[in-house]
Subunit: 265 residues, 2 copies
C-alpha cells in the first residue's frame, strides 16, 4: 500500500531491485490481478508475503451483514493461505450506523473471532487484530489500544489469534510498551508495522501517514521494544500518503528502504 501506484509485477520487480525480500499485500490488488497468478508471481520471484491486509469489519448487528462479514473473512483466510502467508491482518470495524455502543461492538468482534480462529488455524493462517488509532474508533475500528486488542485476543489460542502492532496507531499510548512486552511474551505479536506521525492531518485523516523519519515517533525505540519482546518476524512499512502515491513508485520504495535503515535499524 505504501507504493500502491505500482502494479503487482512492477512492485515485485522494484522489491527485487531494491533488495526488499518480503512484501505485505492487500486483497484488492491481489484479487484484481488474480489470486493464483499473484501467488505464482511472488513465489517465482523468490519473495515472501509477510501478511495479507485485510479482513475484519466484524461489528455489524444485523445477522445478514454478520454472515456476509464472516464469509468475507473466510475468503480472506483462503487468499492468505493461497499466497503462502501465515498472517491475515484484521481491522475490526467501527460502530454500526446510529449505534453508540462501543462495548457491544467490541463483544461482537470476539464472537466473530470465535468462529474465524479455528477456520484460520486449520489453514495455517494466524489472525492479527490491529488496534487502530482512537481517531478511527467511530468509523473504522472500535479496538483502539494495544491493551484492548490483547484483552480481546487472549481469549483465543496464540497460534491462531494475535495482534498487529503499528507504530502509527500506538505511539502516543504510554501503556502500549507494557502491552508489547506482554504480547511478545505470549507469542501474540503476529505483525509489526512502521509509519510515522505527521501533522496537520488531512481531511478524513486516513491518508496522512508520514514517511519514516518525517514525524514525531521514535521508531527506533519501538523497534527495540518489539525486538525486546521477542518478535523475530518481518517488519512492514505501511504508509497511506497521497504525496507518496503521487511520486514514482520505485523512487518511493528506495527512499523508504533508506529511511528504514536510518530510523529503524
Amino acid at each position: 500500500m505504501t507504493v500502491r501506484q505500482l502494479s503487482l509485477p512492477a512492485l515485485i520487480n522494484a522489491c527485487l531491485r531494491q533488495g526488499v525480500p518480503a512484501v505485505g499485500l492487500w486483497r484488492e490488488p491481489v484479487l484484481s490481478y488474480g489470486l493464483v497468478a499473484a501467488a505464482t508471481l511472488v513465489r517465482n520471484a523468490g519473495l515472501t508475503v509477510t501478511s495479507l491486509c485485510r479482513g475484519g469489519f466484524l461489528t455489524a448487528e444485523d445477522s445478514g451483514l454478520r454472515a456476509r462479514a464472516l464469509d468475507d473473512n473466510r475468503a480472506a483466510v483462503d487468499e492468505a493461505a493461497a499466497l503462502g502467508t501465515d498472517t491475515l491482518i484484521l481491522v475490526s470495524g467501527g460502530l454500526p450506523a446510529g449505534s453508540r455502543d462501543l462495548a457491544g461492538a467490541r463483544e461482537r468482534i470476539a464472537d466473530a473471532l470465535a468462529v474465524l480462529a479455528p477456520y484460520a488455524g486449520e489453514r495455517g493462517v494466524r489472525l492479527a487484530v490491529e488496534p487502530l488509532h482512537p481517531m478511527f474508533a467511530a468509523d473504522r475500528c472500535v479496538v483502539s489500544t494495544l491493551a484492548q486488542a490483547l484483552a480481546l485476543v487472549e481469549r483465543f489460542s496464540a497460534t491462531e489469534v494475535g495482534v498487529a502492532v503499528d507504530t502509527y496507531h500506538v505511539w502516543w499510548d504510554e501503556t502500549a510498551p507494557a502491552a508489547v512486552a506482554r504480547a511478545g511474551a505470549a507469542g501474540r505479536i503476529h505483525a509489526f508495522q512502521l509509519a510515522d506521525w505527521t501533522t496537520p492531518l488531512p481531511a478524513g485523516v486516513l491518508n496522512g501517514r508520514g514517511q519514516l523519519g518525517d514525524g514525531s515517533i521514535d521508531l527506533r525505540a519501538w523497534r527495540r521494544r518489539v525486538d525486546d519482546a521477542g518478535y523475530r518476524g518481518p517488519i512492514e512499512v505501511e504508509l497511506f500518503n497521497e504525496d507518496l502515491w503521487a511520486r514514482d513508485g520505485e523512487t518511493v520504495l528506495a527512499e523508504t528502504v533508506e529511511r528504514f535503515t536510518t530510523h529503524a535499524w
Copy 2:
C-alpha cells in the same frame, strides 16, 4: 467558543434570553473586549463564568520559552480570578519542534504545575488539566487520556489541580469511566464538557466537533458517570465547528440548549 460568532455582549444577551445561567469564556475575546469590562458585563448580567480557557502549553524545552509560558499562565490565572471563575482549563502542549520524547514533555508539564499550582491556589483558582484526544498528542497536548491526566494531577493538592473531562476527548477510552470515578472520589473533576464525535474529520481535525446528538458518543451515559462520581459543577458545551460558526449565533445557542436537554439531561 461554541458560538464564537457572537460578540461578548451579544453572547451575554443570548444566554439571558435562552435561559443559560453560566458561560465558559476564552481568553482572547475577553482580552480584546477588555478584562475589567468583560467581568463587569457578565457580573451585571447575573451570569456565572464557569471556566476560563485556556492556559497551558507547558512543554517547551528552551528556558526562555518556559519562562514565557509560566508568565502567560500566571496572567491567565489572574484573568480567571478577575472574571470570578474558580477554574482555569489547561491544554498541556504538544511535542517541541523536532522532539520525539513524549515522556519528557509530560514531565515538564509536572514541573510547570509545581510552579503554577500554588500561584493559582493563592488566587482561588483551580487548574484543570484537560486530556486531549490522542490525535492531538504531537502538536497540541501530550496528555492523551484521563488516566494520564489524573496520574499527573495527583502529585498536587486537589483544591489546586484537577482534570477537565471532555466527552470528545475521552469517549473512545474504555479505561476512562474508572478514571472518572477515581477523579470524582478525589474531588478532582474541575470541569465537565460535552461535545459529540462526528466523521469524517475535517483537515487539521480541530474544528470538527459534532453538535450534541449528531455523533457517536453516548452523552447521557457520560453525564451519568460524572454525576455518579460526585461531580456537581457546571456542564459546558464546547463545540469547535465551522458549520455552527457560519450560522446565526443565537439560533445555534438555542439549538444547543435543546440538544443538551434531549441528549444529556
